[in-house]
Amino acid sequence: MKRRTFFKYTVPSIVAPVFIGGFNLRAFAASPLVQAYSNSSTEGNVLVLIQLAGGNDGLNMVIPVDYYSQYFNARKNIAIEENKILRLSGNDTTGLHPSMTGIQNLYNDGKISLVQGVSYPAPNFSHFKATDIWLTGEDSSENITTGWLGRYLEKQYPGYPEHYPNPQMPDPFAIQIGSVVSPALQGHSYPMGMAISNPESFYKMLEDHQDGNDDHFNSDRVADQLSYLRQLSEKTDAYAGVIKQAAKKSKTLSAKYEDKGKNNLSEQLKIVARLISGGLQTKVYVVNIGGFDTHAGQTVNTDTSKGKHAQLLENLSQSIEAFMDDLKLMGVDDRVMGMTFSEFGRRIKSNASGGTDHGVAAPVIVFGKKVKGGQIGHSPIIPDSATVNDNVAMQYDFRSLYASILKDWLGVDKDALSSILLHNFDTLPLLA
């Protein structure tokens, strides 16, 4: 029996702290010595993935202060003015987009790791293929149909779906906020997570609202059948009960979230925080924010710090800050780590429509109380006169981030790691 399995079945680790030789394991959790003994410190850890759909312009999000003139020359029509860049403590080379004060605060607090230049060899410029690459963890020459987290969860919870839910794992392994379970969660036969179709309907479920808006149907007879079917599908979802219970058990505590309707990502993360603090043992949450495909009109002409992209970054930054605050107030911030990703970055040189075209590498924001704050890698090297073909170069394979998260945060052992990630990847020091 594996050591962690042993713990799982013998010690109700959620209720009672685990003691070895009189020492509370939790107190040593961060010590490499104890990790060598056992992975039980990773037992309750949760991963939150924030997908930025469309290809985020990393260069306007994390700005190379050390290459400012090259940066400015390459994208005069959209470059952030130097004096508006948010500066980071202990970091002279890099700054943030002016709308990201939330991330700035967290960075200065040591809760953000900025990983520069994340991509993969032979990058693909199609949204769909590039997204698949990130979600499956495949090489760009491969066509893999399972997701990287699906493979992890299959290892973690063998025999799904026959033997689940069960008393050891009564909760969904992964929750996607959105209509479709992310391909990242796809296992060999089944999706290894469930989707909460959208926040609105989720709130309806919490508030015991029945679906009311059936006006468009050609008859009451159809509406009658549908309302029956809808009620039934809510009731029959094997996990609807536990999710509802968890959400009911906890309340949103942070006042930093924006008002309802203003920031969809906020709404999604609010749910995630409630489910975590409500006691779900769910390992992975996936949330989405779209609109990053900024080919044109990325900024306002008169003020490059405003506009479409600025709004998206503000939403992102603001909701992560509120989410972290919420987790802290709920007392679960020890257990949560998150990461943003986008299918690709954008071109160094801006185009004539005030936007940027599909590019290659971009920075990834890793956040969490246990994260090792600071920057990994260096600013992207920008040529003196960038051409339309110049791209931000890769410094780290995204699967090195996956490997670090799986190994150090989710407690996957080394052998399992290469079978989940299909190849071998170095890890990065993401955790303190």
Binding site: G178, H216, N218, S219, D224, Q225, L229, G290, G291, H295
Partner: protein, 556 residues
Amino acid sequence: MTRRDIFRSFLPKNESPEWRDVSFPDIESGLETYKKPWDESAVRHLLRRTQFGAPVAEVEYFKKYSAKKAVEELLNTVPVNAAPPINNYNDDKVTDEQVPLGQTWVNATNNSGMLTARRIRSYKSWWMMQMITQNRSIHEKMVLFWHNHFATQTATVRHPQFIYQHNLLLRKYALGNFKEMTKAITIDPAMLRYLNGASNTKKAPDENYGRELQELFTIGKGPGSHYTEGDVKAAARVLTGYKIRPLMQDTAFDPQRHDDGDKQFSAFYGNAIIKGRSGKDGENELDDLLNMIFDQQEVAKFICRKLYVFFVYSNITPAIEKNIISPLADVFRKHNYEIKPVLEKLLASKHFFDMANRGTIIKSPVEFIVSLCREYNVSFPSEQNYLSRYDAFEFMLLRSAYMQQNIGDPPNVAGWQAYYESPAFYKLWVNSDTLPKRNQFSDRMVLFGYKTKQQSDFVGIDLIAFAKSLPSPENPDMLIQGSVQYLLGADLPTDQQQFIKTSILLSNLQDMADHYWTNIWTSYAQNPTDENKTIVETKLKQLYKYLMELPEYQLC
């Protein structure tokens, strides 16, 4: 305790949501012929109800007709004369000594416990095959209708050859004469076994068939039904004398076992007396009995109500009884119980095509599975690969049984509850157990299909081919709209379609992102590399998995 309470008490506790009392405004339209608009929505409605699902090619075909002509063609197309079920069951445990593999067992005489079970399984797979591979006709739907009406259970009959003969009988009369059919069913070996007609003798009368003949097969229990217990007994006496000849595999009338006394019926039958007949003439009492029963107005009404619930909607209000059922019953009687004129009147009517009646039926499991296979043109192994072919249809059969409709074995002689249990009716098909099973089935067909045991033939959905068959699949709005129209029983509001488009086809890209789908679809069409195929297929899998999990997909 009301009827409703009693009924509810049969259901597992807390598993089914409350259903509302159904009281909707009445539908004004009557039996006059429906003319316009003869659009795709009308064609789909007709096809979903009279066949299984509305495949793209079928809709194209019938679009050029009128409602009346389409109904005529569906009623008059002669069904395919299918080859009988075969031995697909030899294995290391069982070898059929009489019937070689691939040959039909329907004339075999060597039934045994093991062989009987396997032949029945082969028969059911064969029936599933008939439904999925049906031609352009209402025939298969009617066979299912009559199976639900003259319900028998293979588990009780336990005689594969009789069971198969019984099915042929349903096929022969499916669109024929109901009175002749009732006679044929009465002396059909499977029915004689199922309702003990073969043990009904002068010495020891068995009332079973005499009762169901009136209660379930002809008169029914509607408001105009007043036959008595005495009528049950009298009918049973008329029906004495039939026996089964196992070697000949047929039915014979044995005058020795027949009660040749006079049989007195109640005031409901006008105090009719059926004069006892002796000797060989005794079997003609059956005609006297059926003449007496079929003289009752209630017979035609009862059958028309059942046709209505099967083809139109479950809630027969007093207005529908008056404006639809009654005139239909008149047509039925006027044509001496010929079935076609009734169906023609009903199915070509304004009432049938009324918007308020579209999408109002929750598919039965058989409809769910057979429609899915037909809508997506799922391919099955060829007749040369008969083992694999039977295995594939058996898979469909078992899924249907798992979802609580096991053809050949309805729950009892009354047929499936969803066709008669008021007020829930079709809602009874779906519950906390069967709804997830439906979703699992459609997920499976979309995601990875079924591989047959023998040759690992793939039985699943070719999503790219399906999308190609829709108008302008390169346009994400058109692709979603076309899919919604072909697959869902009720329309989806535009904002929901937009939501699906953005979150699935466009991976949450916003603004001018439609062309991303167009580009990838077009690059696949021009250059079908594995990479392009995977991208397109992944999107389509998500799209169709999502659409088929919607409650609207349960409707037809």
